[in-house]
Symmetry: C2
Subunit: 347 residues, 2 copies
């Protein structure tokens, strides 16, 4: 057995499209990047091996299979999920805990992954809560929104931590050196919004040039190219991202209906098809990395449940980037520094 401290565990089970799609994603990743670390495939061995054979990657030197007999269902509660010790997801977390792997990718149950990772891996010292971070496409840029659900009741200090976590995510995933941060609220005048937001605003300003905080933003600014990171609590972020998906989906259906309403419109739609394809491509979730659960000891990536093989491949590459660039070490140092500054400011 090759021991590779940078190995990435892949939860093969729990994806909507089945283990076949995950294995295909692994194959694409291996093909595209010979520099990948060891990939540890975790799941039901009797299902995985025939798929590896089918894709002619059985026995590939960069692959290892670890059997896990159980699978966490998409609708299982986090409290039930984390009890399934021999599930592929919990076994992946254990591999990080035992340092056999440094990162994991899973398409499975988000609640169980968040709860399992927090309990089993614990938090990076200095942090109080993890945050789930996600890359969102806009017209001419990508931005990061966090927290989208790990921590629904986020204190002002935790909002400040989210800004730091998002900065590190943005630097590595989007390659932005000094990402511009906006704190999401309702009305940008000083003194508006809630006390919690006002305090977080104060904390963020007190961090000075250690981060690139640009101030309070409203919902109107979310899809404008003003900021690279939108910071909010997990309640607002989760509702926001899901509502945007819901709006987007509704508009898609509406366009389909209106553009096929008569032959002239249909012809018009055919001629302008490439425009619709370009827009659809821009918002294709498989183009963007999986959502990292930031703040835990280890790299934990939640890929979309409905990921295709490209989505899986991109998630593996994201994990690799986060490992290669030592994301968690940077987070540890940045959080320690920020905590020190606001402690000093309060004293």
């Amino acid at each position: 057995m090759v021991l590779d401290s940078r190995a990435i565990a892949i939860d093969v089970m729990g994806a909507d499209k089945g283990p076949g799609e995950v294995i295909e994603g692994v194959k694409h990743a291996l093909k595209q990047d010979p520099g990948l670390p060891l990939l540890t495939l975790v799941g039901i061995q009797s299902e995985i091996e025939p798929l590896l054979k089918k894709h002619a990657i059985l026995g590939h030197p960069k692959l290892k299979v670890i059997h896990a007999s159980d699978v966490i269902g998409m609708d299982e509660k986090p409290t039930q999920g984390i009890k399934k010790k021999d599930s592929s997801m919990m076994r992946c977390l254990d591999l990080i805990k035992s340092e056999e792997c440094a990162a994991m990718v899973s398409c499975g149950n988000t609640g169980s992954l968040m709860a399992g990772a927090t309990v089993r891996l614990r938090l990076i010292p200095g942090l109080e809560r993890p945050a789930l971070s996600t890359v969102i496409p806009s017209k001419d840029h990508l931005f990061i929104l966090l927290d989208v659900g790990a921590n629904p009741e986020t204190t002002s200090k935790q909002l400040m931590h989210n800004a730091i976590l998002g900065t590190n995510h943005s630097q590595i995933e989007l390659g932005i050196h000094k990402p511009k941060i906006g704190l999401l609220t309702i009305g940008t005048e000083e003194g508006k919004g809630t006390e919690r937001i006002q305090e977080a605003h104060k904390y963020l300003k007190s961090l000075g040039t250690t981060i690139n905080y640009t101030g309070l933003i409203e919902g109107f600014h979310v899809f404008e190219k003003d900021v690279d990171i939108v910071v909010c609590d997990g309640f607002v972020g989760n509702i926001l991202i899901k509502t945007c998906e819901s709006l987007f989906h509704m508009l898609k259906e509406l366009f389909k209906e209106e553009l096929t309403a008569n032959p002239v419109r249909k012809l018009g739609a055919v001629l302008s098809m490439q425009a619709f394809k370009a827009i659809k491509h821009k918002f294709n979730p498989d183009r963007y990395s999986a959502a990292p659960l930031l703040g835990v000891n280890g790299i934990v990536l939640k890929a979309h449940g409905s990921s295709n093989s490209t989505g899986i491949m991109n998630a593996i590459f994201s994990a690799q980037k986060m490992l290669n660039q030592n994301m968690n070490k940077h987070i540890l140092l940045a959080i320690a520094e920020a905590n020190e500054i606001i402690k000093g400011g309060a004293a």
Copy 2:
């Protein structure tokens, strides 16, 4: 002077498009509905009268002009705004307070209107906070979202009140007899989300058939035809509606760019133009009524700052419906009943 206890005060100042657009909206309303109550136009008399003359409605028996020398600016803080006692907006509120009018329509500064109405008119007994409610178009239906910003930190009891306020708004504005209510949260399994949401969920269930509560909903469901009313706190609702506007605006720009990228696409866009127009029309804010500030003593409608004359006319008609159908009396009774039920349940 004709005294009409159902008179509607119109804040003529403070609209983005100027007093002319407001007066034009008044003219349209008078033309379309001879059954309108008295409309009291409040603002700078020397600006209003020439406009009335221009539109040949000077001296119209359904119109009255009241001079107010001041205007609240769009960027003024609520605390500053409500100090402008001779502003058109505050004078409109005073007309409701003195019972010369029963309703008002304003396109002006939202914060000042919310603060002014709450302070000057006070709340309907049994209520603790007002809620700003808004009609949102989806693919095949309209739904109501509230609170969109009157009360950013809403308790569980206040969330229950929002459901009742929304029910009354929906019944009158959309004519839905038993509107289906969803409480917005992050994960619909029992026990998920925050304690505040869980408690509100319990309260709403305990109201039984007095309202049509269908349970918790996630962001994914907001634009689906599952519910007629989406209940949330003013922080979430404000961010949500503004972010949706931001997403919608961004997509519009993106379509414009992609559909004009080459001659073939341009031709396609011309042929399918009617589809785009239909979609644009569906989401035209002037089609829907202004947002009522629910829960105050009096009918207070906030029209979009950028309303055109159709928007103003529709806002006047909404105010009329709310008056004719005694909305606030229904709210008073429904809130009293709900408070009694949950008081009984808690005992």
